[in-house]
């Protein structure tokens, strides 16, 4: 059974002027110990999905309209606020993109980690302190640095502290929202390697939100491609990287400059992401799609399994036309 199972999740931001349909009918599942990559561009609804899982959507204007989020068999959307608070940080923790702002600047890093442990674990302050030192060592920071303040750490080191904090309570699920986007490539490689190793040690599942398909190829087991609040394609690495079906997924790959092939001109996806307050009818991607037909503009494509474990939301793929 999967650890996390999201069914039909729909999240809207409702203001008096308009309704932003940020997440529309999203289905996702993550098995224990596996990593799911959630890929999409700015505004695709990736972060909203993650915040929805933690029930951290600010209400109002945000509202989880429908769906269920089964975590360990329990529907998180039906849990009390108190239970959710216990689950956050304990069973599910999150790493944010910017390590610079994720740490309290006037608290020693060791104390910050210890606090999380103390709040969630049934332990004394001393035990929490010990655990914090152990976690720092685990992420490759010498224990004597635990008395230092965040500004004494570099960006990569701060992100390590954030990761130590997220893993301190041995969560079952780790949500990482662009954890390495603010870091340099060589540091990114170090951090990704470390996350992978720690994940294996603790048998943690991970939802990795990213826009970088390279990171996905190196760290994920399964991939969900998100566009305009919907999952447009879902499958394992082979499905997505070797046999992508949805025109958007294919377009993403074609937009990337290659490191080993010579391409005179890139073939970007034309146009822009639609305004989530004013999504087009039919297929959300039809305004930018090269294979658009009349039906695409009117009929909303279903989320279809085209081969075991490989889902695509495209009318023309479904009909076998492309």
């Amino acid at each position: 059974m999967s650890l996390l199972d999201i069914k039909g999740l729909t999240i809207h931001y409702i203001t008096h002027q308009n309704t932003v349909r940020a997440v529309n009918d999203v289905d996702l599942s993550i098995d224990t110990g596996k990593t799911l990559g959630l890929v999409g561009e700015t505004g695709a609804g990736k972060t909203t999905t993650a915040l929805g899982i933690l029930r951290l959507i600010q209400t109002p204007p945000g509202k989880i309209v429908s769906g269920e989020i089964l975590f360990d068999g329990k529907d998180l959307l039906k849990e009390s606020e108190h239970n959710i608070r216990m689950i956050r940080g304990n069973d599910i923790s999150m790493i944010f993109q910017d390590p610079m702002t994720a740490l309290n600047p006037i608290m020693r890093v060791g104390d910050q980690i210890a606090e999380v442990v103390y709040l969630h674990g049934d332990c004394t302050k001393e035990e929490a302190k010990e655990r914090s030192l152990h976690m720092l060592e685990t992420v490759g920071i010498r224990a004597e640095r635990s008395t230092e303040f965040p500004h004494q750490f570099s960006g990569g080191m701060k992100q390590r502290v954030v990761i130590a904090m997220a893993l301190a309570c041995k969560p079952k699920l780790l949500i990482a929202d662009e954890p390495t986007t603010a870091l340099d490539v060589t540091i990114q490689a170090q951090v990704l390697k470390m996350i992978n190793e720690l994940k294996a040690v603790y048998n943690t599942s991970m939802l990795l939100i990213t826009h970088d398909l390279g990171i996905v190829a190196e760290t994920c087991d399964e991939v969900a491609i998100m566009y305009a609040g919907q999952i447009v394609e879902y499958g394992n690495l082979e499905h997505i990287f070797d046999n992508p079906k949805h025109p958007y997924t294919i377009g993403l790959f074609k937009s990337l400059p290659s490191l080993d092939k010579d391409v005179e001109r890139l073939s970007p996806i034309k146009g822009l992401m639609p305004d989530p307050a004013n999504l087009p009818t039919g297929c959300k991607f039809h305004t930018r799609c090269d294979h658009v037909c009349e039906d695409c503009k009117a009929i909303e494509p279903a989320y279809q399994e085209i081969e075991p474990g490989h889902f695509v939301r495209c009318l023309r793929v479904e009909r076998g036309e492309i």
């Binding site: 190829a217 990287f241 990337l256 400059p257 822009l272």
Partner: protein
């Protein structure tokens, strides 16, 4: 094609409370007309400072800069002002690099107004022509930057840089803030403009796949110094400096069949303030010897047009 820009032993030091920061330390290169020099490196390596120093937007500390064969190292303020027409800068952040109080038309017309180029209808025609060149529809003429997305904003920044018909443009991470599909659109635009108008670029970026795609030559920087410079493809096929190798292996490749040599470089960039007399990469280099820790390596041309700054480049690569 002839040479447009040549830089000799360029240095730029900043005085900080902690000591002298060596942002650019003894870098030399030249760029031919119509070609692109990619400058790559991690944040804080001085690549943006290099671009701005070459443009004479900030004063250099030592060295020489030649533009169109003329020494522009010590020119007067007036000459520097005139130089703006020939060399331009495209910024990374399409959000903070556009004045939020000006509409698209005024933003693009601003350089023309500064130099009193063209009047009335002529100027208007030129602005519309520029908008057309960078693919901005006329309906955005009076839009404000905050109403547009990142890609369109970057197009405004490009149009503004083109307004004075420059020959040489420094692009400082022009696509880093953009989504992949938009990034590809902007890269294509920059390449098309280069073909049509014969621009020469310095393309500063941390993204190696972008730099390979767009550059003729690539210069790899590490804490203010040039560690390697070679033709673009050669750098990826035959990296010689240990830092370049580590950097290349660190890029995540969007291909699941790609077998990569794992060289995860330990440590992080050391401080560029008051650097010691040593190879700056020595602290992170797996091949470092006592020589590396006591002597600054010199740049040598290992293969034609392939320069490396490493004491042990020949042993490491078996050449």
């Amino acid at each position: 094609m002839g040479e447009l820009v040549r830089v000799e032993h360029l240095k730029k030091y900043f005085n900080t409370p902690a000591g002298v920061l060596h942002a650019v330390d003894d870098i030399s290169f030249s760029i031919n007309k119509g070609e692109t020099l990619g400058v790559v490196g991690e944040s804080g390596c001085g690549k943006s400072t290099l671009g701005r120093t070459v443009l004479k937007l900030i004063d250099h500390t030592d060295g020489k800069i030649f533009f169109e064969g003329k020494d522009i190292t010590n020119i007067s303020k007036r000459e520097n002002h005139e130089l703006r027409k020939k060399m331009q800068l495209i910024f990374q952040d399409p959000y903070s690099s556009l004045n939020p109080r000006l509409c698209v038309y005024d933003l693009i017309a601003d350089p023309l107004k500064t130099f009193h180029i063209l009047k009335g209808e002529e100027r208007q025609k030129r602005v519309f022509q520029l908008m057309d060149e960078v693919g901005l529809s006329k309906r955005f003429t009076y839009s404000y930057p905050h109403e547009l997305d990142g890609g369109r904003r970057q197009r405004i920044g490009i149009a503004r840089a083109l307004a004075l018909k420059p020959k040489f443009i420094v692009c400082d991470e022009p696509v880093s803030a953009l989504d992949v599909s938009i990034q590809a659109q902007i890269l294509n635009l920059l390449q098309d403009l280069q073909k049509q108008l014969g621009f020469t670029y310095i393309f500063v970026t941390h993204d190696l796949s972008v730099v390979r795609h767009i550059s003729t030559d690539i210069l790899v920087m590490y804490i203010g110094v040039m560690v390697e410079k070679s033709p673009a493809k050669e750098l990826f096929e035959r990296p010689l400096h240990p830092y370049t190798k580590g950097l290349l292996s660190a890029i995540p490749i969007p291909n699941i069949h790609h077998k990569k040599k794992e060289i995860v470089m330990a440590g992080e960039l050391t401080s560029p303030i008051n650097p010691k007399q040593e190879c700056r990469f020595a602290a992170r280099c797996p091949f470092a010897t006592d020589l590396c820790r006591t002597q600054v390596p010199t740049v040598s041309e290992v293969f034609p047009n392939h320069f490396v700054s490493c004491h042990h480049v020949r042993e490491i690569n078996g050449i």
